[in-house]
Amino acid sequence: DAGVTQSPTHLIKTRGQQVTLRCSPKSGHDTVSWYQQALGQGPQFIFQYYEEEERQRGNFPDRFSGHQFPNYSSELNVNALLLGDSALYLCASSLGTRPYGYTFGSGTRLTVV
């Protein structure tokens, strides 16, 4: 059990559509970071949420947005989906914004057709 719960596990969407992915952090963690892992690549940082605000952002377009709720859970939204958005989306939770004690979820596999 990873302690971090992501839903759904798999998703198929059509180009141009919008998608929302969800993450419940490990108990006791207050920070959620999102990563995109394309096939054959390592995870790439999208953004991080702490105290319901985006604290840091990687090199991703504005089509990628997020939200953190008072219970520390988080959503990742992607608008105007492109074929290149097909990837495994990973959520990592931690206590505080440093990545020293990351716990990763198993991810959501998004396929854009």
Partner: protein
Amino acid sequence: AQSVSQHNHHVILSEAASLELGCNYSYGGTVNLFWYVQYPGQHLQLLLKYFSGDPLVKGIKGFEAEFIKSKFSFNLRKPSVQWSDTAEYFCAVNDRGSQGNLIFGKGTKLSVKP
């Protein structure tokens, strides 16, 4: 920009063989270094991490890594691999001056033959 290079895409070993996976990073500042493992169908798990002090770091399941600052390297080693070590291994770097993100290498897939 920081980057992490993992030299081998796919390594195939027989059980009991020794393992060394290479990792080099490009960044001139102070960094924290990590090795993560992803077993088939499972989530990423931390194997070991280096922040400061002794450059030889021991992790879980008999893995260790050595930080060589002059070579910008953080290679992962295990004296004797088991079939259960079959997994994908990721090296990652965190810039201590930044907030909370890790920069990952592309990963090395390890296949251990029984």
